[in-house]
């Protein structure tokens, strides 16, 4: 197993591009296929964007870490803020969201669809979302 790697970003949407670039490099380093890398990059983007927009004060910090195993990469998104579990939070079904032409609610669907495994932990005021993609 490769040593853990981490990226610290501000809770601002202008950091998302830097998050995507770094996760892309981690995925490449872990030997993921391009398709698997794209899934992980988007799932992490959605998780971080969700944290920025719904949970955090501007200027707060988010820590994104990676743990690589052969053919598999886990990215952990950690931030202090109100408890929010994107892996189980209630969301309308995809069909209902589409029927209502709702402008929101797609991020949680994407996180759950794209990651091969998604886990959540609440640790003394810190949210941790762990997303794993294989392939």
């Amino acid at each position: 197993m490769a040593p853990p790697q981490a990226l610290h970003v501000r809770a601002d949407t202008d950091e998302l591009v830097r998050v995507r670039r770094r996760v892309g490099r981690w995925a490449q380093g872990a030997g993921l296929s391009e398709a698997a890398a794209r899934r992980l990059v988007l799932a992490v983007d959605e998780t971080v964007a969700n944290a920025i927009e719904h949970s955090l004060e501007p200027g707060a910090r988010i820590v994104i870490g990676a743990e690589a195993r052969p053919g598999r990469l886990t990215v952990a998104v950690r931030y202090r803020g109100p408890r929010f579990d994107p892996t189980t939070a209630p969301t309308p079904t995809r069909a209902d969201t589409l029927r209502q032409r709702a402008a929101g609610g797609y991020g949680l669907h994407l996180i759950r669809s794209l990651a091969d495994a998604a886990a959540y932990r609440w640790d003394g005021g810190t949210n941790e979302v762990r997303l794993t993609v294989e392939g």
Binding site: T13, D14, L16, V17, R20, R38, L42, D45, E46, A49, I52, E53, R94, A95, T97, L98, R101, A102, A103, G104, Y106, G107, H109, L110, S113, L114
Partner: protein, 116 residues
């Protein structure tokens, strides 16, 4: 440096169709730019709209939400917001969320314009 741009100064055909050419990465940071462009089109009275996605490298849910927010206003005005020429890797995201069941999507801009 911005990693997204949208140009929307072209009209083609008769009655005219307003083209919005998207370039780069449409995410939670850049979605407001796309939203402002669509609003400007509606404010100009243009409701026949085609989003040219051929230059789009990436889309996340914030960008998808903008498409969804503007399709009904365009249709209510007698037009539509159609989506054209998405690269395969970007189309995959639209498809994952079922957007092809809501939007009129076309492989080329010409086909989208001709479909009005």
């Amino acid at each position: 440096m911005s990693h997204f741009s949208v140009s929307f100064d072209r009209r083609v055909g008769q009655p005219p169709v307003r083209l919005l050419a998207l370039t780069g990465e449409l995410d939670a940071h850049t979605a407001p730019d796309f939203e402002a462009a669509l609003q400007a089109c509606l404010d100009d009275g243009d409701v026949r709209l085609v989003a040219d996605g051929s230059g789009l490298d990436y889309v996340s849910s914030a960008g998808l939400g903008v498409f969804m927010a503007f399709v009904e206003p365009a249709r209510d005005g007698g037009g539509d917001l159609k989506i054209a020429a998405l690269p395969g890797r970007v189309f995959e995201v639209f498809d994952l969320l079922g957007f092809p069941t809501v939007f009129d999507m076309h492989p080329t801009v010409d086909a989208a314009v001709a479909s009005f």
